[in-house]
Subunit: 148 residues, 2 copies
DNA sequence: GTGTTTGCAAAGTGTTTGCAATTTA
DNA sequence: TAAATTGCAAACACTTTGCAAACAC
């Protein structure tokens, strides 16, 4: 599969990204960051579980333990590089899209898609008690094949 | 508390509710249904975890196993008596309010409150592919103490 | 009676953690 | 070299399941 001179998934792009986020740039973090953020052929927005990312890394010949993948995903999330998404029970999902957006969840396939928050408008939200603020509004549109 | 002719916390109300839902009325189900739907002094809308409901039942002198509580909560959910709510990882929550509504989640306390869907309007949702339908739109407003 | 439900304990997920060895800055 | 990170395996939290005994109808 390593066929042409086309650049291997970003040489030190990952490293600088890590630095910018205040994280030490280790072999494992660089590799995972490259998979998450820089791989060509990937859509901009990825939704991965720890398990899936670990498999992907191992398949790509990257030696990293599942525990480290978990830890790394959380560190990336805290650093603001990822956002954790909860649609239902089961493995939690990490989203490379950290901008303001919502989700479309396909109940039949489990597929998760981003919905730009630009088009969607939510009105009538309640006034919060003083001293409180909205940290985020999560919206999940659940869709399925029409049954009736 | 059984003072007036006013009915004690629903004698067979729970039983008939179960029948209506097509569930056999067993001792455990009746007791759990009574706790969930009929207890005086409770708010109309309850958000319980399996663990919490089990504890509550045991404290009330009801003999029931945690496994049965889990099973019963799912049966109630399938029967449309409850709705499962996911706000984040951790134990899943069951909501006695099955009407159309959203949730306010207090990140500091973990408290979950219902938001009537009547006031809230969501516009700009995407058109779905033919043959697909929206099964539900989940909205969670996450609030916290103002930090900045 | 017959099919359903229960409870237990065991197995199953998905995730976190303690700690020695390794790596980074 | 000091501090952070890794990997393993064990622990963990939450949930489901297999199966025999108990129960509802």
């Amino acid at each position: 599969m390593k066929q042409s001179p086309s650049p291997a998934p970003s040489p030190d792009l990952a490293a600088s990204r890590l630095r910018a986020a205040g994280l030490r740039s280790t072999r494992q973090r660089k590799a995972l960051a490259a998979l998450l953020f820089d791989s060509a052929g990937h859509k901009k927005c990825r939704h991965v579980t720890a398990e899936a990312l670990h498999t992907e890394a191992v398949d790509a010949g990257i030696q990293v333990s599942l525990a480290t993948v978990y830890n790394t995903l959380h560190q990336f999330t805290i650093a603001g590089l990822l956002r954790e998404v909860v649609v239902d029970a089961g493995p939690s999902c990490f989203d490379t899209n950290t901008s303001d957006h919502y989700h479309l969840y396909n109940e039949n396939t489990g597929e998760l898609t981003d919905l730009s928050a630009r088009r969607i408008r939510i009105t009538g939200l309640p006034r919060l008690p003083a001293g409180a603020e909205v940290s985020r509004v999560d919206v999940v549109v659940r869709m399925r094949r029409r049954s009736t």
